[in-house]
C-alpha cells in the first residue's frame, strides 16, 4: 500500500461533527457528503483538496459520533491517507472497514507541514516527506486488520469467507 500526495494539516481533536456536520446526515450519498467535508472547520478544504492528498492531524482524530459518513466523506473527497498522532477508536475501525487508509505516527503528524509532498509506503512502514527529506517509521497493522484491508474492507472479507 503506497500513497503519494500533498499534506493538508489540522490540529488535535478534529471531531466528526466538523468532518461532516449532522445537518448533512440526511443523506448517505458519497458525493454529497464529500461536498461538505470539513465544512465547519475549514471552508476552503473542498475547493483545494486534490485526489491523493494526505491529511496530517494531531491527537484523537475523528472523535465524537460513530457516523461512518465521516470517513466516507474524507475518502470521497479524494484524500488517500490520514496520518494522525492518534485516532478516536470508532473512527479508526470505520476507516478500516470502509477502506480509508489511516496510520498513527505522532512524529510524522508533528513534523509534516501544510503543502509538503509525502510518500507513504505502509507495506514497509515508511513515511517520507519529499519536501524536507525527513523519514518516519510506522508500525504495520495487526495481521487480522491487514486481512480486512487486503480484502477491500469488512463486507468483502465476509463475502470472501475470511470472516465467517
Amino acid at each position: 500500500m503506497k500513497y503519494t500526495g500533498n499534506v493538508i494539516k489540522y490540529g488535535d481533536n478534529v471531531d466528526t461533527d466538523v468532518i461532516i456536520p449532522a445537518r448533512y446526515l440526511n443523506t448517505s450519498e458519497h458525493s454529497e457528503l464529500a461536498a461538505h467535508c470539513m465544512e465547519d472547520l475549514d471552508k476552503t478544504f473542498v475547493s483545494r483538496v486534490k485526489p491523493g492528498d494526505i491529511i496530517a492531524a494531531g491527537q484523537n482524530f475523528g472523535c465524537g459520533s460513530s457516523r461512518e459518513h465521516a470517513p466516507i466523506a474524507i475518502k470521497a473527497s479524494g484524500i488517500s491517507l490520514v496520518i494522525a498522532k492518534s485516532f478516536a477508536r470508532i473512527f479508526y475501525r470505520n476507516a478500516i472497514n470502509i477502506g480509508l487508509a489511516i496510520v498513527e505516527c505522532p512524529e510524522a503528524a508533528e513534523a509534516l507541514s501544510e503543502g509538503d509532498t509525502v510518500e507513504a509506503d505502509l507495506d514497509n512502514g515508511i513515511i517520507r516527506d519529499l519536501t524536507t527529506g525527513k523519514e518516519f517509521s510506522v508500525e504495520p497493522f495487526p495481521e487480522f486488520v491487514q486481512k480486512i484491508i487486503e480484502n477491500g474492507g469488512l463486507v468483502q472479507s465476509i463475502s470472501n469467507g475470511v470472516i465467517k
Binding site: D17, A22, N60, G64, S66, E68, R89, N97, F144, S159
Partner: protein
Amino acid sequence: MGMTMTQKILAAHSGKESVSAGQLILADLDLVLGNDITSPVAIKEFTKLGKDSVFDKNKITMVMDHFAPNKDIKAAEQCKMCRDFCGDMDITHFYDVGKMGIEHALLPEKGLVTAGNVVIGADSHTCTYGALGAFSTGVGSTDMACGMAVGKAWFKVPGAIKFNLTGSLRKYVSGKDVILHIIGMIGVDGALYRSMEFTGEGLSSLSMSDRLCIANMAIEAGAKNGIFEVDDITLDYIREHGGSGPVIYKADDDAVYDQVINIDLSEIEPTVSFPHLPENAKTFGEFGEIPIDQVVIGSCTNGRLEDLEIAAEIMKGKKCADGVRVIIIPATQQIYLDAMEKGLLKIFIESGAVVSTPTCGPCLGGYMGILADGERAVTTTNRNFVGRMGHTGSEVYLASPATAAASAVTGKISSPWEVMGK
C-alpha cells in the same frame, strides 16, 4: 492473569477461557442496534453481502430517533428505507414514531439489554448499556451491517481504567456532574481505546439514571466502553423492565488496570463543560456571569424521568427568564406519559418551557432547537463541539438537568445551589 469485567464478558463471548489487553477476538453479539441516520448506510452494505436474511430477527433493533418525526424529505426517505428493511427482514424490535424513544433510553426501558450481554450499536453512545453490566460499544454502519449478517464483530480487547467510587452525591448533584468532572480530569482522549470500569462502595448511592448517564458519556473520554459492577440496584432495574436473565461478571481481584482513580462522590460539585470540548469542565466560582439564549433538557444522556423530576422541582412556580427559550424533551413515550401523570409537563409549560415529542433533534444540530450565530445554550446533552447545535458561531455549555433548570429561570449559567440552596 486476572481479567477486568469487560475482558471476562469478551472471553465468554469468544469461546475463550481468558483474554488479555491487545488481543484480537471475534465475539458473538447479543444485540445489534441502529438508528435512522446510521442504518441506511448499514442497509446498503448489508445488501452488498447478498444475504436474504439477518442472523437473528430478535437480536436486531432499529430506532427512528435522530431526525424523526421526519424533519425533511431526505429524513423521511431514510426512515422509509429502515422501515422497509425491517419489514422485509421481519425485525422484531423496530421502533417508529409513536413507539420510539431516544435509543439509549428506550432499550434499557424495554428490557432489551441485560447484564453480561455484548451489544454493538451504530451510534457512539451505545456505551450507555454498560450501566447494566453489559459490554456495549459504538461502531459504524459497516460493523452494524456485518453484525446483522453474521451476529459477530471483531474487537481488540481493551485495557481499563478503574474508577473506585466512595461517598455519596450531595443534593442537586447527579451522575452528569460526576462524568463531566471525570472527563475534565482525564481529557477527551483520557480513556482512548480502553474501558472505564466503575466500582466501589459509592455505587450504592448512584441511581440507574445516574449510572446510565455516566456510562453514556464514556465515549466523550475516548473510551471503548464504560461498565458498572452489577449490584442489587442493577438487578432490580433489569427485573422491573423485563430484561432476560442477567449474567454477572465481576473483575478478578488480580485484574490488571492501566490506572486506578479514586473519586469521592461527596466532593463533586455542579459542573459545567465549556465550549468546545467536554473536557473544559468548570465549577461555579471559576467563571463569571454568562447570559444564555436557550436551555435544552433531554437527550440519551439526560432525558430520563429522574432528570425531568429534578428539573421540575427547580422550575416549579417560577418563570423561564425573559429571552430564554427552554426546550424539554422526554426521552421515550413512557417517560413522556409518566411525566404527564406526575404533573411535570404542567410545571414546565406553566413556567414558559416547551415540551417536545422524543427525538435526538437539537443535540446534534438536527432540528427542534438550532442555534443562531453568537447564541449560547446550556444543555443536558453530551457534546459541545463547534457547530454541534447549529451555527459554528454558537456555543453549547454541557450541564446536569438541575443546572440547566436553574439556568432556565435565571437566564444565566447558574448553579442549582444558587437557586435552591444546598
